[in-house]
C-alpha cells in the first residue's frame, strides 16, 4: 500500500537516523566531559571510559527500547535530550571541579546527577514498556488530578516538607530530597487533557455570551477552576513563583487548544496581569524579584545572583572562555537554576544559542506530534507537555538572562536535580509514545471487516 488512506502519507520509522544523531549527541556529551578535564587539569579525565561508557550505555539502551516498543516514534527527541543531558552533566562536573579547587571537602553533584539520570532512563523505559497506548491514561484523569494535588501539598506537611532558599517545595524522605512539583506537572497535564477531552464541547458551545466572550456553564468550568485555584493557592503558600506561572500558563493554553476559543487567552491574560499585580502588591518576595530585575545594579534589592550571572555571560562573549577556563563558581547555584549562565560563560553566546535551539527543537517536535496525532486526548497531552516544557525553559532562561524577573525553576535536563530530571525523562517517554501512535500506519482494515460493524477499540 503506497500510503495511508486518511493522510496520503506514511511516516517512516527513521530509527537509523535516530542512532546516527545519538552518536553525534554522545560525542557532544562525552567530548564536553573530556574538554572539562583538559581545561581544568590539562588532561583527559581518568574516568572518561567509565563515564562515557555509562552515558553511552544509557542512551543506547533507550534507543533499543524505542526501537522495540515505539518503532515509529519521533527520531529527533531522544538524541536532543541525550545531548542536553550530556552537556549538563559535563557542566555540573566542571563546577564540581571548581568547587573542589577551593575546598577539597566540597559537595559534588555530577555523580549523583548521573545516578538520577540512570533513574530517569529507567522511568523512561518503564513508561515505554508498560504504557503501550497513551489513551489508557485517559482512564486515570481524576486519579492524576488528585495525585497532583497531594504531591503539591506534601511539602507543606510539617515533617516531610523543607524550606530551601525561601521556597517550601521540597520533601525529605530519609537521605532523599524531592521536588514533587516536577512530577505534579506531568500529572496535571494528564488531568487537564482527560478532563478537557470530555468537556471541551460543552465548554466551547454551551453557555452564554457576555461582552463578546462565550462564558461556559459553571458546572463545566467548575472542577477545572477549582483545580487551578488549588494549585495556584498551594504555590502561593509555598512561595514558588516559577511553578505558579508555569501551571497557570499550562492551564490557559490547554483550555484554549481544547475549545479553540482565543477568548480564553484574552481572559487568561487579563487574569494573569491582575494576579501578577496583586502578587506584587501583596508579597514582599515578589517585589524583591521585580525590583532586582528592574534595577539589578542598585543596592536596594538583593540582585547578587542575577548580576553575577550577567557578568558571567558577558565575560563569555561570543565564543566563551572555554570549558574549565571561566569562573562559574562566582555565580550562586550555577550547577542548578543558573547553569545556563555557566554555559554562557564557558561556551559563549554560541553555546547558549545551541542549547536554546535544542530546547526549541524538543518543543516544536512535540507540537508536531500533537498535530499529527489522531486522537484528541493525545493531542492535548502532547500540546500540554510541549507548552509546559517551553514555558519552563522560557521562565528559567529568561529569568537568568534578565529578560523577565527571576523565578526559581530548573533548566530541563541540565540543572542538577533528581525530580526534574526524572520527570523530564518521563515527559519525553510520553511524547515518544504519542508520536509512535501518531506516526504508525493505520492498520489495513479495508475489506477484512464488515463496513457496518462497530469497531471496538481497547483502551484498557
Amino acid at each position: 500500500m503506497p500510503g495511508n488512506p486518511l493522510t496520503g502519507f506514511t511516516h517512516r520509522r527513521r530509527r537509523g537516523a535516530e542512532l546516527f544523531l545519538i552518536v553525534i549527541s554522545l560525542i557532544v556529551g562525552i567530548g564536553a566531559y573530556a574538554a572539562v578535564g583538559l581545561g581544568v587539569e590539562g588532561t583527559v579525565p581518568a574516568d572518561i571510559v567509565g563515564y562515557g561508557g555509562w552515558l553511552a550505555v544509557l542512551v543506547i539502551v533507550c534507543h533499543i527500547v524505542v526501537r522495540m516498543t515505539a518503532p515509529y516514534a519521533d527520531p529527533v527527541l531522544l538524541p536532543v535530550v541525550a545531548a542536553l543531558n550530556g552537556l549538563g552533566l559535563a557542566m555540573i562536573h566542571r563546577i564540581d571541579l571548581a568547587n573542589l579547587e577551593q575546598n577539597s571537602d566540597a559537595h559534588t553533584f555530577a555523580r549523583t546527577q548521573l545516578m538520577w539520570m540512570t533513574l530517569g532512563v529507567l522511568i523512561f523505559i518503564a513508561v515505554l514498556v508498560f504504557l503501550r497506548d497513551h489513551r489508557r491514561l485517559q482512564a486515570f484523569t481524576f486519579t492524576s488530578g488528585l495525585a497532583a494535588i497531594v504531591l503539591l501539598l506534601l511539602p507543606l506537611m510539617p515533617v516531610l516538607g523543607t524550606q530551601i532558599n525561601g521556597a517550601r517545595i521540597w520533601i525529605h524522605l530519609g537521605p532523599f530530597s524531592f521536588q514533587p512539583g516536577e512530577i505534579a506537572k506531568v500529572l496535571l497535564v494528564i488531568f487537564f487533557a482527560g478532563y478537557l477531552v470530555l468537556h471541551r464541547d460543552a465548554l466551547a458551545l454551551a453557555g452564554r455570551r457576555v461582552m463578546g466572550i462565550d462564558l461556559p456553564r459553571g458546572r463545566d468550568l467548575g472542577p477545572i477552576l477549582v483545580m487551578w485555584l488549588i494549585s495556584l493557592g498551594i504555590l502561593v503558600f509555598q512561595r514558588d513563583l516559577g511553578s505558579s506561572l508555569l501551571f497557570f500558563g499550562l492551564f490557559l493554553v490547554m483550555l484554549y487548544v481544547a475549545t479553540e476559543r482565543p477568548g480564553w487567552l484574552i481572559v487568561g491574560g487579563l487574569l494573569f496581569v491582575g494576579g501578577a499585580y496583586a502578587g506584587y502588591l501583596l508579597f514582599g518576595h515578589v517585589q524583591a524579584r521585580v525590583g532586582a530585575w528592574l534595577d539589578p545594579f542598585g543596592s536596594k534589592y538583593d540582585s547578587y545572583q542575577i548580576v553575577q550571572g550577567m557578568y558571567g555571560q558577558a565575560w563569555g562573549g561570543l565564543v566563551g572562555r572555554g570549558l574549565g577556563q571561566g569562573d562559574p563558581t562566582l555565580i550562586p547555584f550555577s550547577y542548578s537554576d543558573f547553569i545556563i549562565a555557566a554555559i554562557g560563560e564557558e561556551l559563549g553566546l554560541t553555546g547558549v544559542m545551541a542549547v536554546i535551539m535544542l530546547y526549541g527543537l524538543i518543543v516544536e517536535r512535540a507540537l508536531r506530534t500533537a498535530l499529527v496525532c489522531r486522537d484528541a486526548f493525545g493531542k492535548l497531552v502532547a500540546t500540554g507537555l510541549a507548552v509546559v516544557f517551553a514555558l519552563q525553559v522560557f521562565v528559567v532562561i529568561g529569568g537568568v538572562t534578565k529578560l523577565i524577573p527571576l523565578t526559581g525553576l530548573t533548566t530541563p535536563f541540565m540543572s542538577y536535580g533528581g525530580s526534574s530530571l526524572v520527570a523530564n525523562w518521563a515527559i519525553i517517554a510520553l511524547l515518544l509514545r504519542i508520536s509512535d501512535q501518531a506516526r504508525r500506519p493505520l492498520p489495513d482494515l479495508t475489506g477484512s471487516m464488515d463496513e457496518d460493524a462497530t469497531q471496538v477499540v481497547n483502551i484498557r
Binding site: V257, V307, Y311, Q313, M353, V363, E364, V387
Partner: protein
Amino acid sequence: MNKPIRTMAIFCMALFLALLVNSTYLQYLEADELNSHNDNKRVRDAEFSRERGAILVGGDSVAESVPTKDQFKFQRRYPQAQKYAHLTGYYSYTYGRNAVELTQNDILSGSDPRLFVNRVVDMFGNSQPKGGDVSLTIDPKAQEAAYQGLRDLGGPDIKGAVVALDPSTGAILANVSSPSYDPNLLASHRLSTLPDVWKRLSNDPERPMLNRGIQEIYPPGSTFKLVTAAAALSSGQYTPDSKVPGGTSLDLPLTDTNLPNENGMSCGGDKITLTQALQVSCNVAFGWLGMQIGDAALREQAQKFGFGDKYLDDLNDQAVSRFPAKLDEPQTALSAIGQFDVAATPLQMAMVTAGIANGGTVMKPYLVDEVRSPDLEVLDKANPEPYRSAVSSSVARDLTQMMIEVVDRGTGTTAQIPGIKVAGKTGTAQSSVDRNPYAWFVSFAPADDPKVAVAVLVEDAGVARDAISGSGLAAPIAKRVMEAVINK
C-alpha cells in the same frame, strides 16, 4: 484542534526567539558595558593575571609587571616607588587604580581598541594577551633634581611640590609631590594586608597620596603678580617703565586697614617703575595696580592662563585653580598680589610661567608621550597643541625682561645659573595667621630660548616662620631642576 496547536507552535517559537535575541543582547551588545563594572570580579581577576604594560620614563620602567607564582600570574612593581608614585599611581586588587595606571588603563591592560589586532592574534595563537607600554614625557634627571631638591630641604616629610614643563610643547618634564608613598604596598597580592595599608595612607593627615602639584590649590602669593603685570601690560596703559606707587603701605578703600609690603619697608621710593616693582615684589605697587585695572581684567587674564578650567587629561582629579568672582576694591587689591581667595595649583603657576616663556601662548599640558603595542609598535604619539593665547608676544617679551631683573638683582637671585639667563618670580603666601606661609618660586630658562619652565611650592619645610621665603626655600630647587634640563 490543529489551528490552536499551530498558534501555540508560533507562540513557542516567539518565546525562543525572544530568548535568543535577549542572550545576544546580553552576551554581545551589553557585554562591554558589563565587563567595565567595578565589582566585576572576573574582569578584575583576568586583568590582574595578564601581563600589564610598563610605564616608561626615559626608556626605564617606573611601573612593570613581573611574573609570580601566586594566584595571579603577574605582580605589579614600582622600582622607583616614592619618586614616581604620584605619576604611576597604584594598581591595586581591592582599591582600583590611580594616576596613569587609571587614565591609561585601556592600553596598559590591553583592552584598548588600538590593540584589537594584537588581541585577535593572541586569541588564535592561544597566548595570553599583553598590555601596551606607556611612555611619559618626564625627564628623569629633572624628576630626580626636583625629588632630591625637596628631600634636601627637610627629608621625606617635607610638604611641597614641583612641576616642570617644556614651554614650547606643554610636556610635563617633572612632577614631584612630597610626602610620597609606596604604591608597591597597594599592589601587593597579599590581599589581607591591603585594608590596613589603605587606611593608613588615606587617613594620614599629611595626605601622602595627594599629588600636590596638580590635585590641590594654594594661594599663589607674589607669583600671581605675573598675572597682574600681564593684565596691566596687555591693557596698553602701562609699560615696564610706567611709574607706580612704591611707598611703605597702600590705603585700602572701604576699610581701616592698609596693605603693607612684606618687609614693612618702602619699595625704593614713592614712585617706582613697574619693572622695579616686580623686582622687589612690591605689594603696594601691585595692590594699587590691581585696583586701577579692576577685577574683571585680572580675572580675564587669569582665565587666559587656565584659571577656572581643567586641561590635564593624563592625570585624574586635577584641581581647578581659582580667581574669585565679584570683588570689591580692597579684595581686588589683595587678589592682585595672590592673596584673598585666589588659589592655584603648582601646575597652573608653571603654565603661567611657560606661557610667558613661549611668547604668550600657553601649551596644553600632557604627560603621556607615546603609547606602544606589546611588540613596540608606536600606536599613538602625543601631539603638542596650543591651549590658549594668554598675552601678546611683545607683552611676553616685556614680562620676560622684568623676570630676568628679578633673578639678576631682585628677590630671586638664589636661582641664578652661571652663564645662563634665568627669568623668575618669588612668592610667599599667607594662608592664615596660625600656619606658616607658603614659599613659591616660578621660573624659566634659558630666558632667550626657554627649554624649561618650573613652579616650586614648599608648603611646610619645618623651619622657622621668618626663614620661609620663595627665594630661600623654593628658588634653589627650581634652579636644580632647570640645570638638570639644560645641562643634558
